[in-house]
Every structure is written in C-alpha cells, then in structure tokens.
Amino acid sequence: MDKTIDIKDWYILNFGEFEKKLNGGKESSIHQKRKDALSNFSRLEFPTIKDEEWKYTSIAPLLKYNFVPSYEKKIVSEELIKSLLFDEMEHSLIIFINGRYSAENSLLLNLPKGVIVGSIADEIKKKNEVLLKHFGKYADHQNHIFTALSTAYTEDGAFIYVPTGKIVEEPIHIIFITDSGNEKILTQPRNLFVAEKNSQVTIIEHYVGNEGEIYFTNSVTEIVAEENAVVDHIKLQEESKKAFHIARMEVDQERSSNFSSHLISTGADLTRNDSNARFNNEGGECTLNGLYIIDGTQLFDAHTLMDHAKPHCNSHEHYKGILDDKSRGVFNGKIIVRQDAQKTNAFQENNSILLSDEALVNTKPQLEIFADDVKCSHGATIGQMDDEAKFYLKSRGIGEEASKGILLHAFASDVITSIKIESVRNYIEKIITEKFNQ
C-alpha cells in the first residue's frame, strides 16, 4: 500500500521538472488540461485486483519502479528502423524515440493538400484548432488514472488530420521506439487522429523496445471518424518482454463511418489494452480484432468496449490468443446496446490456444442490452493445440516445429487475413514465424 503512495508522489513530484522542460508548450489551453489531469491523478488511486475492471491484472509489478520521462535526445540506427518497415510498401513514416518526435528519421510522402501528419507537440505550439477541439474529449481523465497520468504529462505523440473528402492512399506508419538502456524510462505517447467527413486513412501504431529493457509505455490514442469516413487502424506491439505497456484507444464514430482496429501483440511483461469504440450516430461499422502471442510469465489483458449508442450499426470483434509457458491472458469484451440502438448487430468471439498446462486465460463477455430489436452474439473457446491435426501433418513428413507453426498460423489466420494491406500481413506472418522457430 505505502509503496503505491510513493509511486504516486513520485509522478506528482516529477511534474514540476517536466513543466520546466516544456518550452513553448506551456501557454496553450492544453496546459490547463495537464494541471487538471494532475489533480485528478493525485485524487485517483491505482487499481488493484479488487477493482472489477482489473480483477485478473495486478499492476503491482509496475508500481515497483520509479519511471521517469526521458529528456535526452537519443539517436537510433538506420538498420533498426529498416528492420521495422514493411517490405514493398510506400508509406509515410513518423518516428518517435523515447516518446519524442524524430523529424530526421521520419519521411512523409506527398500528402493530399491540408492533411497534417506529424508531432502533436508541434500542433500544440501552433494551437491547431482541430487539436484543441478534440484533444482529451474522448479519453476522459476524471476516472481513469492512467489517462490522467498521460494527460498530465502530455508532451508528444502523433497527430493526424485528414480534412473532408481527402483520401490518404499510403498508410501512415508511426513507430514508437523506446531505447531505455539502464534508465527506467516512461514514455507517454499521446495520439490524436481526426478523419473528417468522407475521408479515408490507414494508420499503423507500432511499438518497439530493446529486448530485456525495463520501461513503461503509457499511451492514449483518440480517434475521430466523422461522417462516412473510413479509418483502418493497426497496432503492432513488439515491446521488450520486461516492459510495461498500458494503452487506451478511444474511437468516436459518426454517421456511416467505418472503423477497423487490429491489435497484434507479442506482449510485454504486463500489457493492458483498453480499446473502446462508440457509435455516436447511425449506420456505423466497427471491427475490433486482436491477436496476441505470449509466453514466459507475460500477462496480456485486452478490454474492449463496443458502445452501440445509436441504431443501425454493426460491430464485429474477434480476439485470439496463443499462450505458452506460464503466461496469462485476459479478455473482457463489453457490448452496450443502448435503448435507442435498435437494429444493432454486434458479434464477439474470443478464441485461445494454450500451449502449456500452466498457461491460463480468463475470458468474459459482458453484454448490456437495453434495446429489443438487436442481434447480438458472443462466443469463447479455450483449447489446446489439436494433436490429431499435428499427427496428420507429421505423418506427411512435416517436422514437429513446422507442424506446430503451421497450425498456429492457421489459428491466427482469420485475424491476420482481415488486415487489408498485404505487406503488413506479411510482416505479421514473419513475427509469428520467428516466434515459433526460435
């Protein structure tokens, strides 16, 4: 208990230091939000397993360390960046190193007129109106301590703005690299993506760190899909196995918008992903898919919330987990169908494969339905690798490891194939292949 208070004090005490380093960023109205968030942060408590929302995920290990924001500029090698790119794909690239935008490593393709892709710190300085209108509106910091922490320490992150009618053809690849070394670095990417009416964009958030390093990524991403906008979001989480990764994504969907999210993760030491989408108007489509592959003592927790506030919307959720050793997975999928939301279709599915007797999954669908004309379904399976199928493959001459790999690829395939971009699919296939041939 006392330990927790220490940590909170630590973050509160560090705020002064952080504030001093904010040259130029202090004047905007955002700074008032930072200070409000800090006072919320000091009022709120870190969750414990007594909180229903954190029942299976103890954050005690995270609270053992005094993480600090990094103020030093780090440079990473070209090779590292190259290894993180997708083959044969033209894409805009923006890179953050230890939470800070790195202009020299970033590369923006010719973007349609009016489209902004870059650092949120720059836009805060410029007092960008779109930013001021949307920032902090969807990820509330009143009740959510990690969002309060993120908001208080708002400094940098990705900002993407696609004005009405603009189509960004090439995906935007955002890489967050943490190079922590011996320091216990805290990075808090704070992202805002706004796609206006009839626009279209694909955004990839990609988190990587050096294997074995201990650091804490606390990211908040707010996404607005206005009327008839199409937004495809992919998140690749390749953090160090000793890192902590807490992330929240809030999606606001307006009339007839189409949003898809694919979360592909090889975990961290402790991962918690909250992915929440809300239909604010009729005719929306939303896909929330996920695939995680963990081992050792990793813990991966995915919480989703699909809020059907308005009628005639469709949502599809499919999360899959592959767990080895003593790893643990948590899936909590909440679907709210509000009273108004007639003609809702909401589907949810969670499948897990346990590769060892000691791996464990807690899966819980949570349906709260207040309308009467809705189609809702959910299903969950937890199983082992199919031994008969493995024997079949081996009896054809395919080795033990390769057989395992084939079956796990097959298990993961429906989540992967629903990603529209081939080179991203290939990148993910490669992650899986490397994972199972080590």
Binding site: Y392, L393, S395, R396, G397, I398, I406
Partner: protein
Amino acid sequence: MLEIKNLHAGIEGNEILKGIDLKVNAGEVHAIMGPNGSGKSTLAQVLAGREGYVVTEGEVTYNGKNLLDLATEDRAREGVFLAFQYPVEIPGVSNTNLLKTALNEIRKYRGEEELDTMEFLSLIKEKMKLVELDQKFLSRSVNEGFSGGEKKRNEIFQMAVLQPKLAILDETDSGLDIDALKIVANGVNKLRSKDNATILVTHYQRLLNYIVPDFVHVLYNGKIVKSGGKELAFKLEELGYDWVKNGKSEEVVNH
C-alpha cells in the same frame, strides 16, 4: 521391406495388439481384414508413429532400420505413408500448403533440391488427374467440409504426390460408392511398382476386386489369426468373421 515381429501395443494400459507377425516385401500388396475393434487401425497408427500408443513388446524393421525408433515425420520421410481411416480436418491450412511443405521437407531429408512453385504445380496437376479431384480443392483447407469420398480421394492424392515406398491404407474404401471406389483403386494400382509395397486395411472383399492383393491376413483380437492368398477374402465374404472367431478352420496358407 517391413518386418513386424511379435508386436504388442496398447493405449492407456489396454493391450490392443497382442503379438503381430507380418512380413511385407517390396512389390507386394497385403490386405488386412478383420471385424470392428480387432486392432487394424491401431496397427496402422503404431506403424505411422502415433503418439499415445505404447509398444510393450516386439520389433518392427523397415528397410533395415528400427522403425519404432524413428520420429513420426522421419518415418514419412523414409517413405511410410498412412492414408487415415478418418482424415483430419485442418481449418486454415490449405491443401497446397500442406503438400508443398511436406514434399519439400521430405526432399530436404533425402538431400534433394526443393521444388520451385512451377515444378510443384505441374506435379500436383498431374496427380490430381489420377484421382479425378477438382483443382478447386487445392486452395481449400485440408479436408474441411469435404464429403467422405472427397476425403478418401484426397488421401490417395497426397499419396500420389508424396510417392511413398510403403503405403498403409486404412479403410480407404469404406463409405465409397462404386465409382469413387474405382477411382481410388485405379489410383493405387497406378502407383504400384516392384519397389513399393501396400498394406490395405479393409472390411470388405469388394475393394479386392479392384486391387488384387498378393496376401490376405485376418486380424482378430489383436492377432493375425489367418493368412492366405486372395481366395481367403472370398471365403471370409462367404462365411463371415465368425468363421475365424470360432477358430473352426484349420487351413492356414503359408506364404
């Protein structure tokens, strides 16, 4: 090619095979018949290397090697092929992917070059004709949603592609209509040569009209209780398995 001596095997403490002796030479076709539950599939699975079965006694030599020492995949790479009585459905794995991986692993094991996509596809096309399987099956998941007959034909198709030395066909004829049976039998006959051998596990003499065996064995209660030439199959058809169960018959044809 294959010599089984006094093979005892079981599962979870139950002895199912109770002393099997069988010798199969290159170029021969052996039929193994027997009532339900007599241990035919167990024998086939033990030879293919299915985990879970425990061999408690006896030995199996295959081309001079101790077969029981080899891993399942190495048995396949050495040329043993099992056509399953109940082929497994594997969603998400295409037939092509399975075959290409299998073929190349086998070739690698034998120190041969891997096939490139073109070579592979032309081989596949040729073998598909043999079992009259439509090309659309290639991209479909292994056995998923296949009819019973399609599954069996797919087994023979895989056999044709992998070209084993010793093929063990476990009830590949069961549930097939006569046309499908002819296709399967034709496939097997075309692959017969003086260098390879086939063990046909079957319930019915019918198959043996199309694939003529050199020897017929009757497996009953975990033992081969009778062996003979193809005429033994006719006799079984006529007299039923009670004939061997009752142990009335004295005549044992040696080979």
